[in-house]
C-alpha cells in the first residue's frame, strides 16, 4: 500500500514551516467556522492535523490508483466522439477516486462545499499528484480556475458554479487561439451581448486543456472594433448550455492523458464574469499566476519521480560486478537530481506561503477594511508572491526537464526503451517549461524584480538568519555569489537606453538570483533538518559555478556583440 505523502518526509518538513501559523489563522479567521461547519478546525493544531490527514488520503490515492494507472493512460489516452471527449479508462477511475475522496475543491470556502485549505497544502497535493501522473495533475489541478471564479464572480455565480466544482465537476480555462498563444491580446473569439443580459460566444479556441470540461472560463472579445487586451472580457460557459464542441484533440508528445482540445463555439450561451474589459488585464493575470504556481508544483512532482526512479534503478542495476550507484559518475547524476528537486521544492513552498498570506488578506478585505499594518503586509507579500511565482515556475520547470534527462541517463539504454517510467516522465516533463508562459516569458515577468531589488532584499532577509557553524561556509559562498550578482545587475543597468541588451541578459540575471535564493532556502532547510545537508552542499557547489559562469558572461559581454546574435 504505497502512500506518496507518508513516504516522503520532506513534504511534512515544508508543511510545518513557522509561517503556517499566521497563514492558518488568517485563512480560518481565528477558527470561527467550527461553530458552523462540523469539519472546520478548532485551532491551529487541529487545522494542521486536518491537512496532514487529507494529504494522507491524497498520497494513498496517488500511490495506489493514479500512479498505477499512469502507464495505461499514457498508452490509451483520451479520444473524441461526436464532439465530446472520452477520457482514458484510468483517467475516469482517477477522477472518480478524487471525487469520492472530496478532493475537487480543496481551496474553496466551506460554504460552497470546499475544504477551505490554504494554497500551501493544496499545492502540496498538486506536487504529490504530479509525482503519480503529471498528465492527470492537469485535470485535477484545473480546480485552480475556481479560485478565479471565487475572486471575481458575483455571489450568485459562486453559489451556482463553485458548489458544482466542489462536488467534482471539472473546469477549463479557454484562453489561447490559433493566432493568440503567448500573445493573448490577439484573442478574437467574439462575445455578443443579448437582451437578457447573457452573451453569445462564436469562434475557435485551440490548445485548451480539458476543453470538454463542465464549466469553462473563457476569454473573449466583448468590445467590437477593439484590437488589444482592453477589449477582452471573461465569461463563464456552462457545458449544460451547449454550443461548444470539441473539433479535435492534439496528438501530443507527453501528458497524453490530459486532452488538449480545439473548440468551436457556435452561439454558445455564456455569462459575464466580473467587469467588461478586465478579462485579460486583471482576471487572466490572476488566473495565470495561480496556474504558474500549479506548474511549478507539477515540475517538482516530476522531479520527485525522476529522483526515485533514478535512485531505484541505480541501486538495482549491476555492471562491472557492482551496483551502478557505486560509481561516482552515477552518484553525481543522482545527487544533482536530488539537489535540484530539493531546491525547487523549497522555492515552491516559499512562494505558496507568500501567496497564502496576501490572498488571505485580500479575502478578509472583502469582509472588513484592513488595518494599515495589515494592508502593508498584504502589499509586501503580494510583491513577494509576484516575484517568486515566475521564478519558481521558470526554474523548477527547467530543472524537472534536466532531471528527466538525467534520470534516463542513469537508466542507460533501458531508459530509452518504453519499459521504464522514465521514458514517459521525460515526455511529460517537456511541456512544463512551455505552457502557462514559456521560461522566456517567466524571465520577462521576473526581471523587474531584479532591477527593482525585490530578489536582493529577499536574499538579504535570508542572509540575516543565523545558521550553525558547520553550515557557515555555505553561507559565506552565498554572500560571495550575492556580491557577484549585485555587480552583474549594476553592470547591466549601467548601459542606458538599450532595451535589447537588457532583454538579452535578463535570463542570466534571473537565474543568478534564483540560484542564490534557492541556495539560501536549502541552507535554511539544512539548518533545521539534517536530511537537507547533502542537498544544500551539492546545490551550493552547483549554484556557485552557475553564478560565476553568468557573471563572467555578463562582465565580458558588450552591447556591440548583440549583432552576432541577430544575424
Amino acid at each position: 500500500m504505497a502512500n506518496f505523502y507518508t513516504d516522503n518526509p520532506d513534504l511534512k518538513h515544508h508543511l510545518s514551516h513557522p509561517l503556517m501559523q499566521k497563514i492558518v489563522e488568517l485563512k480560518e479567521r481565528n477558527y470561527t467556522e467550527a461553530e458552523k461547519f462540523d469539519y472546520a478546525p478548532l485551532d491551529f493544531e487541529d487545522a494542521m492535523d486536518n491537512y496532514d490527514k487529507v494529504l494522507e488520503i491524497v498520497g494513498d490515492i496517488c500511490g495506489n490508483i493514479i500512479a498505477e494507472n499512469a502507464e495505461d493512460v499514457d498508452h490509451q489516452g483520451p479520444r473524441v466522439e461526436n464532439g465530446r471527449v472520452i477520457y482514458a479508462d484510468g483517467t475516469k477511475e482517477n477522477l472518480e477516486a478524487c471525487r469520492k475522496a472530496g478532493l475537487m475543491g480543496m481551496a474553496m470556502p466551506r460554504r460552497f462545499g470546499g475544504l477551505n485549505f490554504p494554497i500551501t497544502p493544496y499545492i502540496m497535493a498538486a506536487d504529490i499528484v504530479s509525482r503519480a501522473d503529471a498528465g492527470f495533475e492537469n485535470l485535477w489541478g484545473l480546480q485552480d480556475c475556481a479560485e478565479t471564479l471565487y475572486e471575481f464572480g458575483d455571489e450568485d455565480q459562486k453559489q451556482r458554479f463553485l458548489t458544482r466544482v466542489c462536488a467534482g465537476e471539472t473546469m477549463s480555462m479557454d484562453l489561447t487561439e490559433p493566432d493568440a498563444g503567448s500573445d493573448l491580446q490577439s484573442v478574437m473569439l467574439k462575445a455578443t451581448p443579448q437582451e437578457d443580459g447573457t452573451w453569445l460566444l462564436n469562434g475557435v479556441k485551440r490548445f485548451i486543456t480539458n476543453g470538454d470540461s463542465d464549466i469553462h472560463l473563457v476569454l473573449a472579445r466583448s468590445e467590437e472594433g477593439t484590437k488589444d487586451g482592453r477589449g477582452l472580457s471573461m465569461f463563464i460557459y456552462d457545458k449544460r448550455q451547449g454550443g461548444v464542441n470539441v473539433r479535435r484533440i492534439e496528438n501530443k508528445m507527453g501528458i497524453k492523458g490530459s486532452p488538449t482540445c480545439e473548440l468551436t463555439y457556435k452561439n454558445a450561451k455564456a455569462e459575464l464574469c466580473g467587469s467588461r474589459r478586465l478579462g485579460l488585464i486583471k482576471y487572466v493575470m490572476a488566473l495565470m499566476n495561480g496556474a504558474r504556481l500549479g506548474i511549478a508544483a507539477q515540475s517538482v512532482g516530476i522531479s520527485e519521480i525522476c529522483y526515485r526512479e533514478a535512485l531505484a534503478y541505480a541501486k538495482d542495476r549491476r555492471q562491472f560486478g557492482k551496483a551502478i550507484i557505486e560509481f561516482p559518475a552515477v552518484q553525481e547524476l543522482i545527487a544533482v537530481i536530488k539537489a535540484k528537486l530539493d531546491a525547487s521544492r523549497s522555492l515552491l513552498y516559499e512562494t505558496a506561503r507568500f501567496v497564502d498570506v496576501y490572498k488571505a488578506y485580500e479575502d478578509i478585505a472583502k469582509e472588513r477594511s484592513l488595518t494599515p499594518e495589515e494592508r502593508q503586509e498584504m502589499k509586501l507579500y503580494s510583491k513577494l508572491a509576484d516575484a517568486c511565482t515566475p521564478m519558481a515556475k521558470g526554474m523548477s520547470s527547467e530543472y524537472c526537464n534536466q532531471n528527466a534527462y538525467d534520470c534516463i541517463q542513469v537508466h542507460g539504454g533501458s531508459g530509452f526503451m518504453k519499459d521504464y517510467a522514465c521514458e514517459r516522465v521525460y515526455r511529460d516533463a517537456r511541456i512544463t517549461s512551455i505552457y502557462e508562459g514559456t521560461t522566456q516569458l517567466q524571465v520577462v515577468a521576473a526581471i523587474r524584480h531584479v532591477t527593482t531589488g525585490t530578489y536582493l532584499s529577499l536574499i538579504n532577509d535570508y542572509n540575516a538568519q543565523e545558521v550553525s557553524a558547520t553550515l557557515q561556509p555555505l553561507k559565506d559562498n552565498l554572500v560571495a555569489m550575492t556580491a557577484k550578482y549585485a555587480e552583474a545587475v549594476e553592470k547591466v543597468l549601467s548601459v542606458k537606453d538599450n532595451q535589447a541588451y537588457t532583454d538579452f541578459l535578463s535570463r542570466r540575471l534571473v537565474e543568478m538570483a534564483g540560484n542564490i535564493m534557492m541556495g539560501y532556502l536549502l541552507l535554511l532547510d539544512a539548518n533545521k533538518n539534517e536530511s537537507f545537508v547533502a542537498s544544500a552542499n551539492v546545490y551550493n557547489k552547483m549554484a556557485q559555478a552557475e553564478v560565476v559562469k553568468h557573471a563572467d558572461f555578463i562582465a565580458n559581454f558588450t552591447p556591440e556583440q548583440l549583432s552576432f546574435y541577430n544575424a
Partner: protein, 290 residues
C-alpha cells in the same frame, strides 16, 4: 427505500507482509510486529454496503466488529469512507473465541441491534482464513446466505440479486431479505477515505477511548453526539457465558509447528541450451512448472 445495513468487519494483523519476527517462539502470532488493519475483504463488503446506500438515500450503514477495544480504529476508518456509525463488541470473556463462539457472539449482537435489512461481511479474514463466521451467523439467525458475492446487482421488493464468483464462472442468485452476504476479494475495491468525513469524524471515540481524553476534549466530544461510537459487552447482548470465548470454543490447537523455508538445493548451471532444457524438463516432471 432506505435500508438498515450491517457490515461485519474484523481488525486483523497484517499478515500480507510477514517478516521473520511475525511469529513468537511459542508459535503464536507476534501482534506487536504486525500492524492492525481493516480486514481486506471486509472493505470489499463495506463498498457494497456504501453502493446500496448511494442507490437508496437515507440508508444507514453500521459497522459491527468484535475484538479488543482498539477495534474502534476500523470503525473510524469505515466512517471516513462513508459508513454512518459502528459498534465494537468487546469483553474479556469473549477472548480466545473460535469461529463457533465468534459467530454466536456476533449473532447475539445482531439480534440486539434488531431491525436490519441486510448483513454484509467479507468472505474471510486474513488471520484465520476460515470463511466460517459469516455463514455460521446466518445459520444462527436463521437467515439465507449468499457467499462469494462479487456484486449486488439489485435490491428491491424484499429480495436481493447477487453475482457470485465461483471457481468455474459467475452465478447469479436471488435471496429474500433479510439475508447474509459475504463478499469476495474480487469485488470492487472500497472507495477512498473522504476529506470532509475524516475532518468531521477524526475525534469519534468509543466510551473506553473517551475515558482517556482530557476534560476539554471530553466536553467537546459530548457536544457533538455523532462522535460517540458504541461499545457493547457480552452481557449487553445477552450472550450465554458458556457459549462465548474460550469456554464456547470447541476448536483446540493441538500443536503449532514453525515451518522455515530454506533453499536446500541450489545448483549452478552452465549457460547453455542443454542444461537449461534439462532443468525445464525436471521442473515439469516434479510439477513446479507446466
Amino acid at each position: 427505500m432506505s435500508l438498515n445495513i450491517i457490515v461485519l468487519a474484523k481488525q486483523v494483523p497484517d499478515t500480507r507482509n510477514v517478516g521473520k519476527d511475525a511469529m513468537k517462539e511459542d508459535g503464536t502470532i507476534n501482534r506487536a510486529a504486525l500492524p492492525a488493519i481493516f480486514n481486506p475483504e471486509d472493505l470489499n463488503a463495506l463498498e457494497q454496503a456504501l453502493r446500496l446506500k448511494d442507490a437508496n438515500p437515507g440508508s444507514k450503514v453500521t459497522l459491527l466488529t468484535m475484538g479488543l477495544p482498539r477495534a474502534s480504529e476500523i470503525i473510524r476508518e469505515a466512517i471516513y469512507r462513508g459508513a454512518d456509525t459502528g459498534i465494537v463488541l468487546t469483553d474479556r470473556v469473549l477472548g480466545g473465541a473460535d469461529t463457533l463462539a465468534t459467530s454466536y457472539s456476533l449473532a447475539q449482537a445482531v439480534k440486539k441491534f434488531g431491525n436490519y435489512d441486510i448483513i454484509l461481511g467479507g468472505r474471510q479474514a486474513i488471520d484465520g482464513d476460515t470463511a466460517q463466521v459469516g455463514p455460521q451467523i446466518a445459520e444462527k439467525l436463521g437467515l439465507p446466505q449468499v457467499t462469494y458475492a462479487e456484486e449486488i446487482v439489485e435490491l428491491k421488493d424484499g429480495y436481493v440479486v447477487v453475482k457470485r464468483r465461483l471457481e468455474a464462472g459467475v452465478e447469479t442468485v436471488k435471496a429474500p431479505l433479510p439475508c447474509v452476504v459475504t463478499v469476495n476479494g474480487s469485488a470492487p475495491e472500497c472507495r477512498p477515505r473522504n476529506a470532509q468525513r475524516i475532518m468531521k469524524y477524526k475525534y469519534a471515540v468509543s466510551p473506553s477511548e473517551k475515558e482517556k481524553l482530557s476534560d476539554d476534549k471530553k466536553v467537546f466530544v459530548e457536544s457533538r453526539p455523532y462522535l460517540a461510537l458504541e461499545e457493547w459487552s457480552a452481557a449487553y447482548v445477552e450472550a450465554d457465558p458458556e457459549q462465548v470465548g474460550l469456554a464456547g470454543s470447541p476448536t483446540k490447537v493441538k500443536a503449532i509447528e514453525n515451518v522455515v523455508f530454506t533453499a536446500k538445493e541450489s545448483r549452478c548451471l552452465e549457460n547453455n541450451d542443454e542444461q537449461l532444457e534439462e532443468l525445464i524438463q525436471e521442473l515439469i516432471a516434479n510439477h513446479t512448472i507446466g
